[in-house]
């Protein structure tokens, strides 16, 4: 394995970089889209159930199908990384919008009433009171989305772009275990690091959850 | 009879929950274990049905050490009621109550028939049988909890803060019903509470615990109020214990003065006290069976400082002023 690593360092390094970009960009986009959606689902109660159901169906579409399918819908090239980014953004939104909504719903109504009574306007109350309190729940959802994105990117290899997934297909075609093992290990390590990073951020920004 | 023989419970980590407890809970009576939180009262209670194992010492029921008995069989013979009732949320009210008879091997039919009977006994109509616990109020849940504990007709009942999760009005109602039930059933009951008023109201005997698992005093409610063993008990029982101790004496020996100045109807029933603006209400009457506490309260509330006694027919037959009560209490003391 060491030999494989040294001989193919450049390829592996490129695949890893591609993997990171393809997995984390959708987390960023997904988060930005999911927060307002989640808020709307709480603000207008009738929206909650339809949104949850829609996201449930979106989430059950196989990633491979979505990867293959988006070029037709978006008019992008089949080999364009945009397809992967858009597909994973869809999954991230599907997962996070629900988490944001559930997180906001879990905020003690008494606290919200107290904030209103002290003169908070709705937007200020959302950013200053409700979102911070919902943050542990939201970040837990972000961990799930990030980790599953990192593992899903590799499926893209079946259509020619998939970061570390390309190591899988290459190893599989050549009947050669090393690249597959290296790909799996790097992918799991990357997921573990990203997960750890979010946990550390959460500790830093929500010190009150450590009180007990 | 439930006997604690020099029982000690030390938890891993070194905290002493119960410290050399020796105590006898008489058969057919209700003994209330009361004290501040962390005084070991619940731990002591749970040693009776082996939910907690003593570090040393013995707990005996009618002379038999519980330690030698099969846990599950022992518990099936002891009713158990806890705070918030601990009802099974996935079973109907009826099946909750039928739990222990079923464990004891009775058929579903007889167990349910028994359960239905018990529901009525605790004041719940048959309409509640098919409901689930989540569909009941706190007071109703607590009644089901009592019915469930009574289902196999156990001679002993353990009750851990059974009435503390309901509001004061419902609690008073449950107290009254429970006292009536106990009068009929005559179970040997051990009950834990942190509420000294509840202990005095319900208990035939009260065991006051202090922090660290020491038994501070074991006495009847009356003795507890009259002769607290030390400052801790006196303080715990409360500053108005003198007034409250009047609850245990009836007005049968209280001397009364002849009825005078009170407006009466043809049958001799009191109408009120004459005043400058017409009749003023008496604020209530008492009989010989009422407690001295009731009489004192009536005298204080009366517009003229006098309480009115009536006979069985409702006719006024005597008057008592606060001075008379004070004189009577002073004469009793000497």
């Amino acid at each position: 394995m060491i030999q494989y690593l040294t001989n193919n360092a450049d390829t592996i390094w490129l695949a890893l970089q591609e993997h990171i970009v393809l997995a984390l960009l959708p987390v960023l986009f997904g988060f930005v889209i999911a927060v307002p959606l989640g808020y709307l689902a709480v603000r207008y109660r009738w929206l909650y159930q339809p949104l949850i159901n829609t996201f449930g169906v979106l989430y059950s579409i196989p990633s491979l199908a979505l990867f293959v399918f988006l070029p037709v819908v978006l008019g992008t090239k089949v080999l364009s990384p945009v397809n992967i980014v858009v597909a994973l953004t869809v999954y991230t939104v599907a997962l996070l919008a629900r988490t944001v909504a559930d997180g906001l719903r879990s905020v003690d109504p008494v606290v919200v009433q107290a904030a209103t009574a002290m003169g908070y306007r709705p937007l200020r109350r959302l950013t200053g009171v409700e979102l911070p309190i919902a943050l542990p729940v939201v970040l837990a959802g972000l961990r799930v989305a990030t980790v599953s994105n990192i593992s899903l990117v590799s499926v893209g290899a079946l259509i020619g772009i998939g970061g570390l997934g390309q190591l899988f297909t290459r190893g599989f075609q050549l009947f050669y275990v090393e690249p597959i093992l290296v790909g799996i290990i790097l992918s799991v390590l990357l997921a573990g690091l990203a997960d750890l990073a979010i946990v550390l951020v959460q500790r830093a920004v929500t010190p009150w959850t450590r009180a007990a | 009879m439930i006997t604690f023989e020099d029982v000690v419970k030390v938890y891993p980590g070194g905290a002493t929950a119960v410290d050399h407890l020796s105590l006898e809970l008489p058969t057919g009576k209700m003994t209330v274990l009361v004290g501040p939180s962390g005084c070991g009262k619940t731990t002591s209670l749970r040693m009776i049905n082996r939910m907690v194992t003593p570090t040393s010492g013995r707990v005996l029921i009618d002379g038999r050490d519980v330690a030698g008995q099969d846990e599950a069989l022992l518990r099936r013979g002891i009713g158990y009621v806890i705070q918030h009732a601990g009802l099974f949320p996935h079973r109907t009210v009826l099946d909750n109550v039928a739990t222990v008879p079923l464990l004891l091997g009775e058929t579903r039919r007889t167990a349910r028939a028994k359960a239905l009977e018990l529901l009525e006994r605790v004041g719940l109509s048959a309409g509640f049988a098919k409901r689930y616990p989540a569909q009941l109020s706190g007071g109703q849940q607590q009644r089901v909890g009592v019915a469930r504990a009574l289902a196999a007709d156990p001679p002993i009942m353990l009750m851990d803060e059974p009435f503390s999760a309901v509001d004061p009005v419902v609690r008073a109602q449950l107290h009254a019903e429970f006292l009536r039930l106990q009068q009929d059933l005559g179970k040997t009951i051990a009950m834990v509470t942190h509420d000294i008023d509840e202990a005095i109201k319900l208990g035939d005997h009260v065991a006051v615990f202090r922090a660290g698992g020491h038994l501070a005093q074991f006495a009847t409610p009356r003795d507890l109020l009259a002769h607290p063993a030390d400052d801790f008990v006196a303080d715990f029982v409360g500053r108005d214990r003198g007034l409250r101790s009047l609850s245990f004496d009836t007005a049968s020996d209280l001397p009364v003065k002849p009825v005078d100045g009170l407006e009466l109807d043809e049958a001799g029933r009191p109408l009120g006290w004459p005043g400058p603006d017409g009749l003023r209400e008496t604020g209530g009457v008492f009989t010989k069976e009422d407690s001295l506490r009731v009489v004192t309260d009536l005298a204080i509330r009366s517009p003229v400082g006098i309480a009115v006694r009536v006979g069985p027919d409702g006719a006024a037959d005597g008057l008592v002023s606060h001075h008379d009560i004070a004189d009577y209490l002073a004469s009793r003391r000497s």
Partner: protein, 219 residues
Amino acid sequence: MNFTYLLDPAHWEFGAAGGIPQLILSHLGYTVLALLIGAVIALPVGLYIGHTGRGSFLAINAGNAGRSLPTLGLLMLMVTLLGLGLLPVLIALTVLVVPPILTSAYAGMRSLDQRVIDAARGMGMRPWQVLTRVELPMALPVLFGGFRSAALQVVATATVAASVGLGGLGRLLIDGLAVNDYSRVLAGAIVVAVLAVLVDLFLASIQRWIVSPGLKGTS
């Protein structure tokens, strides 16, 4: 892009090799087998950890650890090591379903109202009776939620089996892609999504049937 492949009756002929019904059957076959094996492994472990509290660390982190394993890589590794066949697919998919089932079994047991269990013991239930008559029925809503999400995940992921030459609805995606037949790819995507929804509805009705009405609103 159009629906011609999906709507062509020839593709719906029952029993025809490569026909949609046959692909659905093999897809469901992988799914059910993986769920069964996964449940047999994960349920006892999750229930044990939840019941005793020992090994909570494992149960809490199993979920994220499992999600971080790329199923495609695992599948290709297994095929490279073991050769082509049902076994490598089942291993890869079982690894996928074990974490959510284990975590939810653990969470279900942990979420129980300890006072109710105290009451059950106090009334004289033996440990086995407490587990089967009180703890399991009460943990069922949470436990079943985990099972349903595992089922959804495995229905969607079983498509990768086609990438190593096996059957299942992934065939429509992989083969369609190979010959640039997007109508076939669309058919595959729609059938998998519909299958996922149907499986979830089926499990939901089972859940309604076996979960006590007294626990409604707690899941």
